[in-house]
């Protein structure tokens, strides 16, 4: 790959904490290498701010290889920036050219209040999982791993859904701030496996109830979520969730 350097203008959302109002700040960053990752570019800016005694831009990040789901930036009108099936930390500066202006915003959804700058509170996701996103099996209860064969196609589909990293880009992209893609990935992951069958009905019902309580919207099947999902979870999982929910709701005796 050819490498080059560039000068950029960044407009970044700065907000002291949940209680205060925020605003955009403009920063010039120069000599950015095309080999840097997007977060490394922010690191460089932050180093500069810190040594000037200013507070650096706060953002969540950890693994920096697209798997922990921490990083969350809405970049120029797209969660995780311009690349397909990508996380912010995997975005590299060769996606930009000299003179570009980049606007960086936090995930926006009432269910994800801003904690500081680009950092938001996604604990609602954990509470949705608490509502039923698991298989109830205490340690020591398991039978031999090969006792139950699982159809490969189903196992693969289950895995494709289990790849969700809970970054919240689906919520950020959705006009309704719906958490359906996230939740449906969990429901599909577990209900496609024979182990997940016994709790199938209660799981989906309780998770949906929790999602509603957290203040996420409902799904209108527009597909914005699917288009930004770093792990390419499919919107058909949401349709599957609807099916699971209907059969749970319409067949229950109470």
């Amino acid at each position: 790959m050819e490498h080059y350097n560039m000068n950029l203008t960044l407009k970044v959302w700065r907000q002291q904490n949940t209680r205060t109002a925020g605003r955009f700040e403009t920063y010039k960053v120069s000599e950015v290498s095309s080999e840097m990752s997007f977060l490394e570019m922010i690191d460089v800016l932050n180093e500069r701010l810190t040594s000037e005694g200013k507070e650096p831009i706060a953002f969540d990040h950890d693994c920096r290889e697209g798997i922990c789901g921490s990083c969350a930036m809405y970049i120029n009108g797209r969660p995780h920036g311009p690349w397909h099936a990508n996380t912010t930390c995997q975005l590299h500066m060769r996606a930009y050219k000299d003179g570009d202006t980049i606007v960086v915003e936090p995930w926006r959804a009432n269910a994800f209040p801003v904690i500081k700058d680009l950092m938001v509170d996604r604990s609602a996701f954990d509470r949705i999982v608490q509502a039923g996103g698991y298989i109830s099996v205490n340690t020591g209860n398991a039978v031999d791993a090969n006792a139950v064969a699982v159809e490969k196609e189903k196992a693969d589909e289950s895995f494709a859904n289990a790849m969700c990293i809970a970054c919240g880009a689906c919520v950020a992209a959705c006009k309704n701030s719906s958490a359906m893609l996230f939740m449906s990935a969990k429901v599909a992951h577990l209900s496609l496996l024979p182990q997940g069958a016994p709790e199938r009905n209660t799981r989906v019902v309780n998770m949906v109830a929790q999602m509603d309580k957290e203040g996420f919207g409902s799904c209108t099947f527009q597909g914005a979520c699917e288009s930004v999902c770093p792990k390419e979870i499919k919107i058909t999982s949401i349709a599957r969730l609807h099916g699971e929910y209907l059969s749970a709701g319409l067949t229950s005796n109470k």
């Binding site: 009108g77 919207g217 409902s218 288009s227 919107i235 058909t236 349709a239 969730l241 709701g249």
Partner: protein
């Protein structure tokens, strides 16, 4: 799970939307089929007869009530959902996503639906109220009296602005259905990817053909393609 829980959950509400939506679609099929009789070019004989036949069937009269209820349920639920969903994000983005992740009409279902509703009000005022309540001029076919709905159409569509409003209504419907058709299946839990591709294509064709056919009716009349 209690009914109340079911229907107040976000998925339950979408179930109502999808169910009523598909019900309305099925009505559209009948409606477009019936109205297409105007193109028989027999001075409305076939059309008036067909309309009469429908109007005199008890089943259809019962379904009409269901239809009205369906439309209102669909419209109210749809607007409520749109409003609720809108409130989920109090602070918006400085740079909106626009059409990069979804087609514009999928995000404007509430607006498209409202346009359809406005159109429907006009539509009822033009046809349904006269036919059910205030009465329509009669015409004799084979010595039997029939409501001359055909004549009413000719009269109504002699007006340019009515034609334009109807065409706009049909365009709204087309876009509403391009998103609505496949979404309704998904809302009802249909998730087989292979079939969903088919549904999507059928939906697009359906939306354009049906809405197009409706739109051609006032145009045909205004331009005198049928007489």
């Amino acid at each position: 799970m209690k009914w109340s829980e079911f229907f107040t959950s976000s998925v339950g509400k979408k179930f109502v939307m999808g169910f009523t939506g598909l019900f309305l679609i099925s009505f559209l099929v009948i409606h477009v089929g019936l109205n297409a009789c105007i193109w028989a070019n027999d001075n409305g004989v076939m059309f008036n007869k067909a309309a009469h036949f429908m109007g005199s069937m008890v089943v259809i009269r019962i379904m009409e009530v269901g239809l009205l209820a369906g439309i209102f349920l669909h419209a109210i639920q749809g607007l409520v959902l749109t409003a609720q969903n809108y409130k989920r994000r109090s602070v918006g983005y400085a740079v909106p996503m626009g059409n990069t992740g979804s087609p514009w009409y999928s995000r404007w279902m509430g607006l498209l639906g409202t346009l359809i509703l406005l159109f429907l009000i006009l539509h009822w005022y033009n046809f349904w109220i006269p036919s059910r309540f205030t009465g329509v001029e009669e015409v004799f076919i084979d010595n039997k009296p029939y409501d001359n709905l055909y004549g009413l159409m000719l009269l109504t569509f002699s007006n340019w602005w009515v034609v334009i409003v109807y065409v706009l209504g049909c365009i709204s419907l087309a876009y509403h259905l391009m998103q609505g058709f496949h979404a309704a299946f998904k809302s009802l839990g249909f998730h087989n990817r292979k079939y969903l591709v088919v549904i999507r294509n059928v939906g697009n064709v359906f939306s354009i053909v049906v809405s197009g056919a409706f739109a051609m009716m006032p145009i045909s009349m205004k331009l005198g393609w049928v007489s």
